[in-house]
Symmetry: C2
Subunit: 544 residues, 2 copies
């Protein structure tokens, strides 16, 4: 860039070609003595003016006590009362249903030229809360997440106030070390000696699974990072037909293509059939394609099934495939000495997806990818951008973890989970897991022999899947029954949403009619809540 | 799954094969009359027990007034005082530096079997705040984000308390509509008639750029979603040598490979050379590869340069390439009638990355990808998972936007920006942008002719890039000067970090020695702050 060089040259009285220079290695770039002054000296000029203009304009992005303190306190009061305590009270609705058109009228979402007052903002916020689904409500059992964990919540609030981005130690010192601590402890829980390996926080389990696919690819064919997949052999990913759709979705995103994700059959419990896996691997080889990885699932989305990890590991070993375990949902069970056997063999994995925001009830989002391999993340994703990952910094830049990620800016999702772990201890997290498993067992026992109830299967995780057949349909048979039953779930769902009494989802699977899936992550629930769920289903469905 | 069918069959007194059924279309699945009961009826059983066990165990993920109210209030007080107000006060340090080993001792990060008390947690939190970099501090000008916007912050707190995941209207009604409103308004600002098109919130601008690459690919070769890139022709992405590294990083992730990202030369202002672009496109064609897209940059990471969008659009039109604009950084300028000319031609783009968490100072993260094309996101990423995107729901499922994303669970990043927009109005956002541009102009004028200062170039955005040459080096020439200057930046940086007086980053570029980049997003700053920055650089460097 001649122009810049000239500018510099001009200033210094000589036109000279400036080149990148070899600078000294860690730890000191200069040898210049530290020069730490007392802080008061640095502020004089700024503070003087600051005092003269203590009322910044209302558009300013800097908090001002005079303008914002009252507002922030009032806002917090509303959050604490309306969202945190009322929103998780059994005396309130899980949802105040409004269809899209009605909601448009009920909450003034429209953006306009002029801002609105603090009073109007606070009124608006109450409306946002009123019409939002209360995912922390005890009777929200609709997704693979629930709860508003009080410690997780507090830590999220702090994360927001500190507003960090975790790419360098320089701008995120505490969170850089905290991520290392949490990821290492999680690796220990997985079963890797001394927590060795590597790991990252990801924006959700889907993307964590995508990372796993890319790492499998990079491990086997490191040249593809540079070359791309063009002209190369077909790479095949194996996963079960009950695996989360993210494996296919991310395989498409990564250029592998959905047809190169082979869906292995599941047995009658929803677990991957290892024989079918091996058959499909052989078939793939016979077609000249390359079996690259198996993504096993520990806790499938619908049935909560755990694939036979040790057996799958053996197949991976035999055919030199990467062994990934998607434990986004079921990973929490590893915290419990009673339930961790469900994931026996996970320690043989090359990579593990594990979302503490699911079974462990950390706030959204807290997802991790854990690796048995060191240095692979950096090798697969690193590009060493010189504006961010300078190598002539004065501290040990091995703590700058950002280049391991495909994200650049990144929230400190670690703080909430670390804080929960601090507050409850490993023992508390174990108690939490044991409790939600007990609750699902209790619910299962309640409905096992109850009139009209039919379990799809004995739950392995905290998913309980069932049909409820209203009295009027109990004499139906064959297709007539199937037809009727398929329509029961959406009808009951509509009623529960309009009533707001609970939220439990439904879906079809394996050609079977719609069934409900109750799913538990909230350890604040009680046996009475389980009885409530059962009775409420009957109240909603019995006149169908 | 025979076992399940038997279970169901047994309950109903007949073994029958259940198959997927054709169910009625929208809007009503059943025609069954609504049945909305008064809410109090639903709670009796649960509440009874609830009162008996009002002290849930400390591990529980359900907030309890008795256990948590005090704690949450105390915690909030600490956040408000220590992080929000003190952390953004000019009387405090931007960072309390500790190197990794010292920080390990200063903050007890270790996770243990037992939880700790509320008192211990609060003390710990104070320490986390103390040693965290204050990114909302007026003198944090180190990255392409800063500020703790009071309205954005409040809205983040609420997002945490509601803990939503935005994939279906069913579980995120308010945020589903809010995303539509904000994305449509942003598209209007881009210049697309009536805000038509599509868009998504993404976990950062890097991933937004990755989406753009995948959409370019899918638009031209929709079959690759299924088939993968194997055996196909080489697809080429063009971007400038000064573009953000995420284009290469995501191209590698997407299977395109870093060598298939052609880096187009920049001119002496850091803008893409359109002639070189066209030369490289022709060369690509002559090699039998396929020019797929251009990723132009509106606001480059280091220099803040804006590529000539209209001219690039013409090249894209000529060679039928997808035209992406990475306006992650500079997009905010679109809000200002004074500065939006910098992005002239952006309305010709197929896709635009725009991060309100950068120039508009929304909290981390708030990143969007905006599309001129409708339906392409769903077509490129949709897989219609039946457990989540049921088609027999009772409401209009076109509001279930989750399948457009490669994420499944996803935070409601919209609320903070929507709330800021509500609070300030479009006019307030414009005033914010004008202010940060004015500040950078003021800073530039301050140093333009000042002894020892040398601007790399006249800033286009709010990045101001400069060398500061300490008095002792002002007589140096040629390589001697270059060598010395390259070491000034890391030395000054070390001093500023240890002192904690400000944070401003440095980097080399185009073979030139390390220079500083001051970058402004905080509209609460004043001219006095600009003078402080200038004088502080001199204080830190003058004895070198």
């Amino acid at each position: 860039m001649p122009a810049n060089e000239e500018t510099l040259g001009d200033t210094l009285g000589e036109s000279t070609r400036l080149k990148t220079l070899d600078v000294g290695a860690q730890p000191s770039t200069t040898g210049i003595q530290e020069k730490v002054e007392p802080l008061k000296e640095i502020d004089d000029s700024a503070n003087h003016t600051r005092n003269l203009e203590d009322k910044p304009a209302s558009y300013c992005s800097l908090p001002s006590r005079g303008i914002h303190e009252h507002f922030l306190r009032d806002f917090f009061e509303i959050i604490l009362e309306n969202a945190v305590f009322e929103g998780t009270s059994r005396k309130t609705r899980v949802v105040e249903w409004a269809d899209p058109a009605a909601l448009q009228s009920a909450v003034d979402l429209k953006l306009r030229d002029n801002g609105i007052s603090h009073e109007e903002l606070l009124a608006l916020v109450k409306n946002v809360i009123k019409y939002s689904v209360k995912t922390g409500h005890p009777h929200f059992a609709n997704q693979l997440f629930s709860s508003v964990d009080p410690y997780g919540l507090a830590a999220q609030w702090l994360t927001d106030a500190l507003n960090p981005s975790v790419y360098t130690y320089e701008v995120s010192p505490v969170f850089s070390l905290m991520e290392e601590e949490v990821l290492r402890e999680m690796r220990k829980v997985v079963g890797w000696k001394d927590g060795r390996g590597d790991g990252i926080f990801c924006p959700g389990g889907s993307i964590a699974n995508g990372y796993a696919i890319n790492l499998a690819r990079h491990h086997k064919y490191p040249e593809l990072k540079e070359m791309g997949l063009f002209q190369g052999p077909r790479l095949i990913v194996f996963t079960s037909e009950d695996a989360h759709y993210s494996v296919k979705k991310l395989a498409a995103f990564l250029g592998i293509g959905t047809r190169n994700v082979c869906c292995v059959k599941v047995d009658d419990k929803g677990k991957m059939c290892v024989k079918d896996l091996e058959d499909q691997v052989r078939k793939t080889l016979s077609e000249g394609a390359l079996p690259m990885m198996v993504s096993a699932t520990a806790g499938t989305t619908v049935l909560g099934a755990f694939d036979p990890l040790s057996d799958i590991a053996a197949v991976c070993e035999k055919y030199k495939m990467w062994f990934h375990v998607d434990a986004a949902w079921g990973g929490g069970a590893l915290m419990s000495s009673k339930h961790r056997h469900l994931l026996n063999g996970v320690e043989l994995a090359d990579s593990v997806t594990w979302n503490p925001h699911k079974l462990l009830a950390a706030p959204q989002q807290c997802s991790t990818l854990l690796l048995r391999h060191e240095n692979l993340l950096q090798s697969a994703h690193g590009l060493k951008a010189t504006y961010l990952f300078q190598q002539d910094k004065f501290y040990d830049t091995s703590f700058d973890s950002g280049d391991k990620h495909v994200q650049c800016g990144r929230r400190a999702d670690v703080l909430k989970f670390w804080f929960m772990w601090k507050a409850k201890g490993t023992d508390g997290l174990e108690a939490h897991i044991d409790k939600v498993f007990e609750l699902s067992k209790y619910f299962t026992n309640l409905v096992r022999n109850r009139d009209g109830w039919s379990l799809l299967q004995e739950p392995e995780c905290t998913n309980v899947c069932f049909w409820y057949v209203p009295p009027s349909m109990r004499q139906l048979k064959g297709n007539e029954l199937t037809n009727a039953l398929h329509k029961v779930a959406p009808a009951v769902k509509e009623r529960m949403v309009r009533k707001g009494s609970m939220l439990v989802t439904y879906q079809p699977l394996h050609g079977q009619p719609n069934f409900f899936r109750l799913v538990l992550q909230n350890s604040g629930l009680t046996e009475a809540d389980m009885r409530f769920f059962v009775e409420e289903f009957e109240r909603l469905a019995d006149d169908l």
